[in-house]
Protein backbone atom coordinates (compact mmCIF):
# COMPACT_ATOMS: atom_id res chain seq x y z
CA UNK A 1 0.00 0.00 0.00
CA UNK A 2 1.02 3.60 -0.29
CA UNK A 3 3.27 5.19 2.29
CA UNK A 4 1.35 6.62 5.19
CA UNK A 5 -1.94 4.98 4.23
CA UNK A 6 -3.19 2.67 6.96
CA UNK A 7 -2.81 -0.97 5.96
CA UNK A 8 -6.26 -2.41 6.28
CA UNK A 9 -6.83 -6.18 6.32
CA UNK A 10 -10.11 -5.95 4.42
CA UNK A 11 -8.52 -3.82 1.72
CA UNK A 12 -5.49 -6.10 1.43
CA UNK A 13 -7.63 -9.24 1.21
CA UNK A 14 -9.87 -7.61 -1.35
CA UNK A 15 -6.89 -6.80 -3.58
CA UNK A 16 -5.59 -10.34 -3.02
CA UNK A 17 -8.95 -11.75 -4.15
CA UNK A 18 -8.68 -9.56 -7.23
CA UNK A 19 -5.26 -11.09 -8.04
CA UNK A 20 -6.60 -14.63 -7.61
CA UNK A 21 -9.57 -13.87 -9.86
CA UNK A 22 -7.19 -12.46 -12.50
CA UNK A 23 -5.16 -15.67 -12.38
CA UNK A 24 -8.30 -17.82 -12.73
CA UNK A 25 -9.38 -15.68 -15.68
CA UNK A 26 -6.04 -16.24 -17.40
CA UNK A 27 -6.04 -19.99 -16.72
CA UNK A 28 -9.48 -20.57 -18.21
CA UNK A 29 -9.94 -17.65 -20.59
CA UNK A 30 -12.84 -16.92 -18.25
CA UNK A 31 -14.16 -13.43 -18.88
CA UNK A 32 -16.38 -13.59 -15.78
CA UNK A 33 -13.39 -14.05 -13.47
CA UNK A 34 -11.60 -11.25 -15.31
CA UNK A 35 -14.53 -8.87 -14.95
CA UNK A 36 -14.77 -9.67 -11.26
CA UNK A 37 -11.02 -9.09 -10.85
CA UNK A 38 -11.07 -5.65 -12.47
CA UNK A 39 -14.37 -4.62 -10.81
CA UNK A 40 -13.06 -5.61 -7.38
CA UNK A 41 -9.79 -3.74 -7.94
CA UNK A 42 -11.69 -0.60 -8.98
CA UNK A 43 -14.18 -0.84 -6.09
CA UNK A 44 -11.41 -1.32 -3.52
CA UNK A 45 -9.43 1.60 -4.91
CA UNK A 46 -12.47 3.88 -4.84
CA UNK A 47 -13.27 2.75 -1.29
CA UNK A 48 -9.89 3.74 0.15
CA UNK A 49 -9.54 7.06 -1.66
CA UNK A 50 -11.09 10.49 -1.45
CA UNK A 51 -14.78 10.17 -2.37
CA UNK A 52 -15.14 13.78 -3.51
CA UNK A 53 -14.19 12.97 -7.09
CA UNK A 54 -16.50 9.95 -7.23
CA UNK A 55 -19.15 11.53 -9.52
CA UNK A 56 -16.51 12.56 -12.08
CA UNK A 57 -14.91 9.15 -11.91
CA UNK A 58 -18.22 7.36 -12.47
CA UNK A 59 -19.04 9.66 -15.39
CA UNK A 60 -15.61 8.95 -16.92
CA UNK A 61 -16.12 5.19 -16.53
CA UNK A 62 -19.59 5.45 -18.08
CA UNK A 63 -18.34 7.43 -21.07
CA UNK A 64 -15.41 5.05 -21.68
CA UNK A 65 -17.60 2.00 -21.13
CA UNK A 66 -20.23 3.24 -23.58
CA UNK A 67 -17.57 3.87 -26.24
CA UNK A 68 -16.10 0.39 -25.67
CA UNK A 69 -19.46 -1.38 -25.90
CA UNK A 70 -20.53 0.58 -28.99
CA UNK A 71 -17.27 -0.07 -30.82
CA UNK A 72 -17.44 -3.75 -29.91
CA UNK A 73 -21.04 -4.05 -31.19
CA UNK A 74 -20.22 -2.45 -34.50
CA UNK A 75 -17.34 -4.67 -35.47
CA UNK A 76 -17.58 -7.53 -37.88
CA UNK A 77 -16.38 -10.88 -36.63
CA UNK A 78 -13.48 -10.80 -39.08
CA UNK A 79 -11.93 -7.73 -37.48
CA UNK A 80 -11.57 -9.10 -33.97
CA UNK A 81 -7.77 -8.88 -33.94
CA UNK A 82 -7.91 -5.27 -35.11
CA UNK A 83 -10.47 -4.47 -32.45
CA UNK A 84 -8.24 -5.93 -29.73
CA UNK A 85 -5.41 -3.76 -31.07
CA UNK A 86 -7.65 -0.68 -30.83
CA UNK A 87 -8.72 -1.44 -27.26
CA UNK A 88 -5.16 -2.24 -26.38
CA UNK A 89 -4.03 1.12 -27.72
CA UNK A 90 -6.57 2.82 -25.43
CA UNK A 91 -5.37 1.04 -22.31
CA UNK A 92 -1.68 1.61 -23.09
CA UNK A 93 -2.37 5.31 -23.48
CA UNK A 94 -4.20 5.19 -20.13
CA UNK A 95 -1.05 3.72 -18.56
CA UNK A 96 1.06 6.52 -20.05
CA UNK A 97 -1.34 9.19 -18.75
CA UNK A 98 -1.53 7.70 -15.26
CA UNK A 99 2.28 7.46 -15.16
CA UNK A 100 2.71 11.10 -16.20
CA UNK A 101 0.07 12.13 -13.64
CA UNK A 102 2.22 10.54 -10.94
CA UNK A 103 5.19 12.67 -12.04
CA UNK A 104 3.04 15.82 -12.12
CA UNK A 105 1.59 15.26 -8.65
CA UNK A 106 3.63 12.68 -6.69
CA UNK A 107 2.03 13.81 -3.42
CA UNK A 108 -1.32 12.41 -4.59
CA UNK A 109 0.29 8.97 -4.74
CA UNK A 110 2.23 9.32 -1.50
CA UNK A 111 5.58 8.96 -3.28
CA UNK A 112 7.23 12.25 -2.34
CA UNK A 113 10.79 12.17 -1.02
CA UNK A 114 10.46 14.10 2.25
CA UNK A 115 14.11 15.19 2.08
CA UNK A 116 13.94 16.86 -1.34
CA UNK A 117 10.20 17.39 -1.91
CA UNK A 118 10.53 15.68 -5.29
CA UNK A 119 9.30 12.30 -6.43
CA UNK A 120 11.08 9.35 -4.75
CA UNK A 121 14.01 8.17 -6.86
CA UNK A 122 12.98 4.52 -7.10
CA UNK A 123 9.35 5.42 -7.81
CA UNK A 124 10.41 7.83 -10.51
CA UNK A 125 12.54 5.13 -12.14
CA UNK A 126 9.75 2.52 -12.10
CA UNK A 127 7.12 5.01 -13.29
CA UNK A 128 9.41 6.21 -16.08
CA UNK A 129 9.70 2.59 -17.15
CA UNK A 130 5.90 2.24 -17.00
CA UNK A 131 5.42 5.31 -19.21
CA UNK A 132 8.01 4.04 -21.67
CA UNK A 133 6.49 0.53 -21.88
CA UNK A 134 3.00 2.00 -22.17
CA UNK A 135 4.18 4.20 -25.05
CA UNK A 136 5.79 1.20 -26.79
CA UNK A 137 2.56 -0.80 -26.42
CA UNK A 138 0.56 2.16 -27.73
CA UNK A 139 2.70 2.51 -30.86
CA UNK A 140 2.60 -1.26 -31.38
CA UNK A 141 -1.19 -1.27 -31.05
CA UNK A 142 -1.55 1.54 -33.57
CA UNK A 143 0.65 -0.39 -36.01
CA UNK A 144 -1.38 -3.56 -35.46
CA UNK A 145 -4.62 -1.64 -35.92
CA UNK A 146 -3.53 0.11 -39.11
CA UNK A 147 -2.26 -3.01 -40.88
CA UNK A 148 -4.45 -2.37 -43.93
CA UNK A 149 -7.35 -4.79 -43.64
CA UNK A 150 -4.44 -7.07 -43.89
CA UNK A 151 -5.04 -9.65 -41.27
CA UNK A 152 -5.21 -12.04 -44.18
CA UNK A 153 -1.82 -10.99 -45.53
CA UNK A 154 -0.15 -10.93 -42.12
CA UNK A 155 -1.64 -14.28 -41.30
CA UNK A 156 -3.63 -15.20 -38.23
CA UNK A 157 -0.64 -16.60 -36.37
CA UNK A 158 1.46 -13.46 -36.81
CA UNK A 159 -1.36 -11.20 -35.72
CA UNK A 160 -2.00 -13.19 -32.55
CA UNK A 161 1.76 -13.29 -31.95
CA UNK A 162 1.90 -9.49 -32.20
CA UNK A 163 -1.13 -9.06 -29.91
CA UNK A 164 0.36 -11.44 -27.38
CA UNK A 165 3.65 -9.51 -27.33
CA UNK A 166 1.68 -6.27 -26.89
CA UNK A 167 -0.20 -7.82 -23.96
CA UNK A 168 3.11 -8.78 -22.45
CA UNK A 169 4.51 -5.26 -22.81
CA UNK A 170 1.39 -3.69 -21.26
CA UNK A 171 1.46 -6.20 -18.45
CA UNK A 172 5.04 -5.18 -17.73
CA UNK A 173 3.95 -1.52 -17.82
CA UNK A 174 1.28 -2.29 -15.21
CA UNK A 175 3.82 -4.16 -13.07
CA UNK A 176 6.28 -1.24 -13.35
CA UNK A 177 3.54 1.18 -12.32
CA UNK A 178 2.74 -1.08 -9.38
CA UNK A 179 6.42 -1.00 -8.38
CA UNK A 180 6.46 2.79 -8.68
CA UNK A 181 3.33 3.28 -6.60
CA UNK A 182 4.09 0.44 -4.16
CA UNK A 183 0.83 -1.21 -5.15
CA UNK A 184 0.99 -4.99 -4.63
CA UNK A 185 -2.10 -5.91 -6.66
CA UNK A 186 -0.84 -3.98 -9.69
CA UNK A 187 2.57 -5.65 -9.40
CA UNK A 188 1.05 -9.13 -9.18
CA UNK A 189 -1.58 -8.73 -11.91
CA UNK A 190 0.83 -6.86 -14.20
CA UNK A 191 3.47 -9.57 -13.79
CA UNK A 192 0.85 -12.29 -14.43
CA UNK A 193 -0.26 -10.66 -17.68
CA UNK A 194 3.30 -9.78 -18.69
CA UNK A 195 4.66 -13.29 -18.18
CA UNK A 196 1.64 -15.08 -19.62
CA UNK A 197 1.72 -12.85 -22.71
CA UNK A 198 5.39 -13.67 -23.24
CA UNK A 199 4.85 -17.41 -22.82
CA UNK A 200 1.83 -17.42 -25.14
CA UNK A 201 3.89 -15.54 -27.75
CA UNK A 202 6.50 -18.31 -27.53
CA UNK A 203 3.82 -21.02 -27.83
CA UNK A 204 2.29 -19.33 -30.90
CA UNK A 205 5.73 -18.88 -32.43
CA UNK A 206 6.55 -22.56 -31.94
CA UNK A 207 3.15 -23.69 -33.27
CA UNK A 208 3.57 -21.54 -36.36
CA UNK A 209 7.17 -22.66 -36.95
CA UNK A 210 6.43 -26.38 -36.54
CA UNK A 211 5.71 -28.22 -39.82
CA UNK A 212 1.98 -28.90 -39.95
Amino acid sequence: MMDGAPVDWGVGLSYLASCVLALLALRRAGHRFGMAAVALAIATTLYIHNAEALPEILIAITIGGAIGILVQRRLAAAAIAQMIALFHGAVSLAAVMAGIAAFVDPAAFGIVDTATGDILGRSGFALGLAVLLGAVAFVGSVVAFLKPGGIVSIGRANMSLLLSVLNSVSGCAAAAMGLGLGHMAMIAIGALVGASGASLALVIHRTAAAPA
Binding site: I42, T45, A60, A198
Partner: protein, 89 residues
Amino acid sequence: MTLLAILSILILACIVGYRAFRSAAPGMHMPLITVANAICSVVIIGALVATAEASSPVARYLGLGGIVLASVNIFGGFALARRLGRGGE
Protein backbone atom coordinates in the same frame (compact mmCIF):
# COMPACT_ATOMS: atom_id res chain seq x y z
CA MET B 1 6.41 -3.05 2.27
CA THR B 2 9.90 -4.44 2.12
CA LEU B 3 11.86 -4.88 -1.08
CA LEU B 4 12.07 -8.61 -0.36
CA ALA B 5 8.27 -8.96 -0.21
CA ILE B 6 7.90 -6.98 -3.42
CA LEU B 7 10.50 -9.11 -5.22
CA SER B 8 8.86 -12.33 -3.98
CA ILE B 9 5.48 -11.28 -5.31
CA LEU B 10 6.98 -10.13 -8.62
CA ILE B 11 8.94 -13.33 -9.21
CA LEU B 12 6.18 -15.72 -8.10
CA ALA B 13 3.61 -13.91 -10.26
CA CYS B 14 5.98 -14.15 -13.23
CA ILE B 15 6.40 -17.91 -12.74
CA VAL B 16 2.68 -18.53 -12.35
CA GLY B 17 1.87 -16.29 -15.31
CA TYR B 18 4.51 -17.96 -17.47
CA ARG B 19 3.00 -21.38 -16.80
CA ALA B 20 -0.63 -20.31 -17.18
CA PHE B 21 -0.84 -20.61 -20.97
CA ARG B 22 1.69 -23.36 -21.63
CA SER B 23 -0.83 -26.04 -22.51
CA ALA B 24 -3.26 -23.80 -24.41
CA ALA B 25 -4.72 -25.35 -27.55
CA PRO B 26 -4.36 -23.19 -30.70
CA GLY B 27 -8.13 -22.58 -30.74
CA MET B 28 -7.84 -20.98 -27.33
CA HIS B 29 -5.13 -18.48 -28.24
CA MET B 30 -7.42 -15.68 -29.34
CA PRO B 31 -9.83 -15.96 -26.36
CA LEU B 32 -6.83 -15.99 -23.99
CA ILE B 33 -5.31 -12.93 -25.67
CA THR B 34 -8.64 -11.12 -25.39
CA VAL B 35 -9.00 -11.87 -21.68
CA ALA B 36 -5.35 -10.95 -20.96
CA ASN B 37 -5.83 -7.69 -22.86
CA ALA B 38 -8.92 -6.82 -20.82
CA ILE B 39 -7.12 -7.58 -17.55
CA CYS B 40 -4.37 -5.11 -18.52
CA SER B 41 -6.99 -2.55 -17.55
CA VAL B 42 -5.82 -2.73 -13.92
CA VAL B 43 -3.68 0.31 -14.77
CA ILE B 44 -6.96 2.16 -14.21
CA ILE B 45 -6.00 2.03 -10.51
CA GLY B 46 -3.25 4.59 -11.20
CA ALA B 47 -5.66 6.85 -13.05
CA LEU B 48 -8.28 6.51 -10.27
CA VAL B 49 -5.78 7.54 -7.58
CA ALA B 50 -4.64 10.49 -9.70
CA THR B 51 -8.22 11.71 -10.12
CA ALA B 52 -9.25 11.13 -6.52
CA GLU B 53 -6.20 12.55 -4.76
CA ALA B 54 -4.44 15.01 -7.06
CA SER B 55 -4.43 18.66 -6.12
CA SER B 56 -2.99 19.77 -9.46
CA PRO B 57 -5.61 20.09 -12.24
CA VAL B 58 -3.19 18.68 -14.83
CA ALA B 59 -2.80 15.41 -12.91
CA ARG B 60 -6.56 15.28 -12.38
CA TYR B 61 -7.34 15.61 -16.08
CA LEU B 62 -4.64 13.10 -16.98
CA GLY B 63 -6.30 10.76 -14.49
CA LEU B 64 -9.78 11.34 -15.89
CA GLY B 65 -8.53 10.77 -19.44
CA GLY B 66 -6.85 7.59 -18.27
CA ILE B 67 -10.08 6.40 -16.65
CA VAL B 68 -12.05 6.96 -19.88
CA LEU B 69 -9.45 5.14 -22.01
CA ALA B 70 -9.06 2.23 -19.60
CA SER B 71 -12.87 1.90 -19.38
CA VAL B 72 -13.04 1.56 -23.16
CA ASN B 73 -10.79 -1.48 -22.81
CA ILE B 74 -12.62 -2.88 -19.77
CA PHE B 75 -16.10 -2.81 -21.29
CA GLY B 76 -15.14 -3.37 -24.92
CA GLY B 77 -12.49 -5.95 -24.08
CA PHE B 78 -14.66 -8.07 -21.80
CA ALA B 79 -17.64 -7.83 -24.17
CA LEU B 80 -15.36 -9.15 -26.90
CA ALA B 81 -14.04 -11.87 -24.57
CA ARG B 82 -17.59 -12.94 -23.79
CA ARG B 83 -18.36 -13.16 -27.48
CA LEU B 84 -15.25 -15.19 -28.26
CA GLY B 85 -15.80 -17.41 -25.23
CA ARG B 86 -19.30 -18.26 -26.43
CA GLY B 87 -18.15 -18.85 -29.98
CA GLY B 88 -15.41 -21.17 -28.80
CA GLU B 89 -17.70 -23.48 -26.88
